[in-house]
């Protein structure tokens, strides 16, 4: 495309955007997905779910109902048996291992109940890690994150010397530093006490709102679920 085509370019983009809106193209579409672990009963029988840019969605359900399973599928961590998951136009069933790795690196960020920091890297290194993998490191954004998450004084420490709440804040920082389209969180406050949970949730929601990312959050807590835009319940392998 030539420099003079700039006009065409912007026109094309806005046209695409409006087309996207018209057709209600979602960031994440889960369409009649099925999943059975080898040698077990079906965990997900027929799950359909949409999540739009900037939306926050709480996924609740009894223990063992398949919440983590669904989240892992959306994160392209695992493969499913039927149906389709589409993330930003990419059909996950068509990806090979490398393709899924690329998707995780560039589109999605994850926060787990167990904080999954890299024990041999310090806080600063952990914080910027995902962004560096994706090749989108932004030091100003990193220090802004560290500030917001209250980690500025802990940057040189190693994970084993942090409290649970602090570790989870590092994990959130690592997730947001890469500016993902979609943030997936599996009971991010499950290991934390009430005050720490509050802080972590507040931080996560405000960061998501600021960056315009979508959030899919698995939780047991009705209180937490109530603070998100929408909530759905998983039961008997289906969304209720």
């Amino acid at each position: 495309m030539e420099p003079g085509d700039g006009l065409h370019w912007t026109v094309w983009i806005s046209a695409a955007n409006s087309w996207k809106k018209r057709k209600q193209i979602m960031l994440l579409t889960i369409d009649r997905v099925q999943k059975t672990y080898p040698g077990g009963r079906p965990v997900l029988r027929d799950v359909s779910l949409d999540l739009d840019q900037g939306q926050t969605l709480a996924l609740t359900g009894e223990s063992g109902s398949g919440k983590s399973t669904l989240l892992n599928l959306a994160a392209a961590l695992d493969s499913f048996d039927g149906g389709e998951i589409t993330l930003d136009g990419t059909r996950l069933s068509t990806l090979d291992d490398a393709g899924r790795a690329r998707l995780r690196r560039n589109q999605v960020s994850l926060v787990f109940q167990q904080f999954n920091l890299i024990p041999s890297l310090n806080v600063a290194q952990n914080l910027s890690f995902h962004a560096r993998l994706a090749g989108v490191e932004d030091t100003t954004w990193n220090s802004h994150l560290a500030e917001r998450l209250g980690l500025s004084d802990l940057l040189g420490r190693f994970p084993e010397n942090l409290s649970g709440g602090q570790q989870q804040r590092v994990a959130i920082g690592r997730a947001m530093a890469a500016r993902p389209n979609l943030l997936l969180a599996d009971e991010p406050t499950g290991n934390l006490d009430e005050t720490a949970s509050e802080t972590v949730l507040d931080l996560m929601l405000s960061l998501v709102a600021d960056t315009g990312a979508a959030l899919l959050l698995v939780t047991h807590s009705q209180k937490i679920a109530g603070r998100l835009d929408r909530q759905v319940k998983l039961s008997g392998g289906r969304i209720q």
């Binding site: 892992n72 994160a75 961590l77 695992d78 291992d97 490398a98 790795a101 690329r102 998707l103 995780r104 690196r105 560039n106 994850l110 167990q114 999954n116 920091l117 890299i118 024990p119 041999s120 890297l121 290194q125 890690f129 995902h130 560096r132 993998l133 994706a134 090749g135 190693f158 084993e160 649970g164 290991n191």
Partner: protein
């Protein structure tokens, strides 16, 4: 992305520095010991090859007379008939107490030798004719310069670097004079470009045998077994080193599982991770390998002089005691380091690459479960049986080594199952909860420790095996020396006239004089030294026969039979009742076989009369003197003064024994050095496994601690565990070591040296080794125990705080 991943992977080593050090040391030890042996072998082989090239040996066909020297007349006839041959006269020549090899060649006809060319072109160049005309010149290596300088009765010496040590090269005319064998020729070298119309050999000289270069007795072949033995030891050390590498890499990977799962969750593909880890391992292998090469070079440098002395003493093989660094050796060492590291890490890497992305963390799952243990044990059993089968069905030196390898690796693989069984048996006897916990905990620790324990088992077995062999050998050898060195004094006269003078003077003063006469013959298995003895009760009573007919001595003394040494018997498979061909005309039945340790060549004994018939004119310069031992020192002194003999030619039995024992001890310096090193490596393996296991210990110990066992108790239990496991392993190592000793004595020794030794048991040595093992285990466990004692309770509490 790659760089960020690399940083994350490498950051593991920054936190686990000890692990990194262990890994590098493991690789370095494995490559170091292996490369040291390779360097020694390569240096020795290079020496043989150099010597052969410098003397043009093994390049041309040769003519020899199996019954002795070739007379000059034959040489003249061959030349007349058109044969292009060069004459060589060689023999042992004693200078200043050292036996050198004097080689006289026909300087005009013999193929150009580098030493001669060098001497002709050197600064102090002599006229080529000087070499030939009296007094001639001697050529020798710089090593011999100090020895030859003081000799007044020798022709001028030219020093050249193009000759092996221990060799004097000269013209055949000079050699005739020095060796006192005028007109004699040891062998004829058949030169290239023979005329077509010359007469066939069997028409001119039917008694001469034409020998192709490959069948000429070759030092490299003779010493092959010795080098194979060394290689086997190098390989054992290499394997023990790899146990350390395997253990450390396995643990490092287990500890990095969480990190690797996170990396994959963050979008690094498995394929990329595997490549990065492979690269990482290769780099580590290269670093460790370089350290190992350094270690190996110094080790080889330290051991080489002893090996060289052994090879010279035992085989007369020319080996310089100096090591040169060869690029090929460096490359081979590094390749071995990389190969070994990847081999030792292959399993861990494979499991890592097949690790499901979603699975709870935990090091436990990493370690082998009971099913894996059963598979390992079955594999071990198969190896043991397979090795035994190979030996029984094929036999020979290589099969012997297959048996050894199968036995050792098989036993190592069986070890965890055996230990687990022993611990279960002990656990059943436990009544109180604490001891029940101790036993079950010990069992739970087995997988993490089993590699180190396997290394210990191998090292201990090798130690028991080799020291049993060496001690058995020593005991046998000393006893044999007592039998074999029958005379109190051994005298070598200048010539036969002097010998006659001395014997006449001595005879009234001593019990008996036993002439020692020998000739060198040629048997199809190599050179054969034929000795003549006079009938003396001392032979009948003391000669160390290992197989004989009923009337052995009567037959031999009557000239109707021959005795041969064990080497010849085994090499040619000749035993009492068989017949030995001594020359084309002389065949004698074998009446007995005697042991002859330390001698590489074949030997046979006949009566003195028989010797005169077979090889008339064998010179008579040496004899033994039988007399009361108390008077030997004084008598030796008297003989020296009376006939102006140097101390070196009148030797007392005691001095001879000491000399033989010194050669013997040197033979095993290398093996025992490697032995000690291997044991050290195994001790180190235990220490490192205990230290690396430490990180996994906390979650297991914390609950017990919380339930009321204090840290001092836990520290004591830590010590107990290590010592007990080492003790159990040592008990299993004993039978393995004894089997190893048997294989060494009855299989490899027979093949390598040509003699079989009886096996003796040395329980005190075992006890000492046992104590040493316990001590090593105690020291290895001391550091973890100390850590336990000093462990801040906060660390233990953290186990409960988060379950990572």
């Amino acid at each position: 992305m790659t760089w960020a991943t690399v940083q994350a992977l490498l950051s593991h080593w920054r936190v686990h520095r000890l692990q990194l050090a262990t890994l590098l040391i493991g690789i370095a030890l494995a490559t170091g010991l292996w490369s040291a042996v390779q360097a020694i072998n390569a240096e020795a082989r290079a020496s043989y090859a150099r010597a052969n090239a410098q003397l043009a040996v093994g390049q041309f066909d040769e003519l020899r007379d199996p019954s002795g020297p070739i007379p000059m007349s034959r040489y003249v006839e061959l030349r007349r008939a058109g044969w292009q041959v060069a004459a060589v006269l060689e023999g042992p020549y004693r200078v200043g107490g050292r036996t050198l090899r004097l080689m006289g060649v026909d300087m005009v006809a013999y193929p150009a030798l580098p030493a001669v060319t060098e001497a002709e072109q050197s600064a102090e160049a002599t006229e080529p004719a000087d070499m030939l005309t009296a007094p001639g010149r001697l050529l020798a290596s710089p090593e011999l310069q100090p020895l030859l300088r003081g000799q007044t009765n020798l022709p001028p010496v030219l020093i050249t670097s193009a000759l092996p040590p221990d060799v004097i090269l000269t013209d055949i005319g000079v050699a005739e004079r020095l060796l006192n064998q005028p007109g004699a020729i040891s062998r004829l070298v058949v030169l290239p470009n023979q005329p077509r119309d010359r007469l066939p050999l069997n028409q001119i000289a039917p008694e001469l045998k034409r020998i192709s270069p490959t069948t000429q007795v070759d030092t490299a072949r003779l010493t092959d077994s010795f080098h194979l033995n060394l290689s086997a030891f190098g390989l054992l050390s290499f394997a023990v080193g790899l146990f350390i590498v395997n253990g450390t890499v396995g643990l490092a990977f287990a500890q990095r599982r969480g990190m690797i799962r996170t990396l994959r969750a963050l979008g690094v593909s498995m394929r990329r991770l595997v490549w990065l880890i492979l690269t990482e391992l290769t780099v580590l292998a290269l670093i460790g390998g370089s350290l190992g090469l350094l270690l190996g070079f110094f080790l080889a440098g330290a051991l080489l002089p002893d090996v060289a002395a052994t090879l010279r003493g035992l085989y007369g093989a020319p080996v310089t005691g100096q090591l040169t660094l060869q690029p090929k050796w460096v490359l081979a060492g590094l390749a071995m380091a990389v190969f070994g590291t990847l081999l030792a890490s292959g399993h861990a890497l494979w499991r890592l690459s097949n690790m499901p992305l979603l699975e709870g963390p935990g090091v436990q799952a990493w370690q082998s479960n009971s099913r894996a243990r059963h598979i390992t044990a079955a594999l071990g059993l198969i190896l043991v049986v397979g090795g035994a089968f190979a030996y029984i069905s094929v036999g020979g030196l290589v099969a012997g080594f297959v048996l050894l390898a199968g036995l050792l690796t098989g036993a190592a693989l069986l070890l965890p199952a055996l230990l687990a069984t022993a611990l279960s048996a002990l656990a059943r006897t436990a009544r109180e909860p604490v001891s029940q916990w101790v036993w079950s905990d010990m069992r739970a620790q087995l997988p993490g420790l089993s590699l180190a324990l396997m290394a210990l088992l191998l090292a201990l077995a090798a130690n028991i095996g080799v020291s049993t062999m060496v001690s058995s050998f020593r005991l046998t050898f000393v006893g044999w020396l007592d039998q074999r060195l029958t005379a109190e004094l051994y005298v070598t006269a200048r010539d036969e006239d002097q010998a006659r003078e001395i014997t006449t003077w001595l005879r009234p003063q001593v019990d008996a004089i036993l002439p020692i006469r020998n000739v060198e013959l040629f048997h199809e298995t190599g050179p054969l030294f034929l000795y003549g003895v006079v009938d003396d009760p001392v032979y009948r009573q003391h000669w160390p026969l290992i197989a004989s007919t009923y009337s052995v001595w009567d037959d031999v003394m009557a000239g109707n039979a021959v005795l041969i040494n064990e080497q010849l018997a085994r090499r040619a498979s000749l035993w009492p009742g068989d017949e030995l061909k001594l020359s084309s005309k002389h065949y004698l039945p074998i009446a007995g076989v005697y042991s002859d340790y330390g001698n590489p060549t074949g030997q046979a004994i006949v009566s003195m009369a028989q010797l005169d018939q077979i090889a008339p004119g064998a010179e008579m310069r040496r004899f033994g003197v039988r007399m009361p031992p108390e008077g030997a020192t004084a008598m030796a002194q008297n003989v020296r003064e009376q006939f102006a003999l140097s101390p070196r030619v009148v030797v007392q039995q005691a001095a001879m024994k000491a000399q033989s024992r010194a050669i013997f001890e040197k033979t095993f310096v290398v093996t025992s050095a490697l032995n000690v090193l291997t044991l050290g490596v195994a001790g180190f393996a235990i220490l490192t496994s205990l230290l690396t296991l430490w990180t996994q210990r906390l979650p297991q110990i914390a609950p017990v601690w919380a339930l009321g066992l204090n840290r001092a108790q836990l520290a004591r239990l830590e010590l107990l565990r290590s010592v007990l496991l080492a003790a159990l392993t040592a008990c299993l190592a004993l039978p393995l070591g004894l089997v190893l000793a048997w294989v060494l004595l009855a299989v490899t020794n027979v093949q390598a040296f040509g003699w079989r030794l009886p096996m003796f048991l040395f329980p005190w040595d075992w006890l000492w080794l046992f104590v040493l093992t316990l001590l090593a285990a105690l020291i290895a466990a001391a550091l973890p125990a100390l850590r336990m004692l000093r462990l801040p309770p906060a660390d233990l509490l953290r186990v409960f705080a988060n379950e990572r």
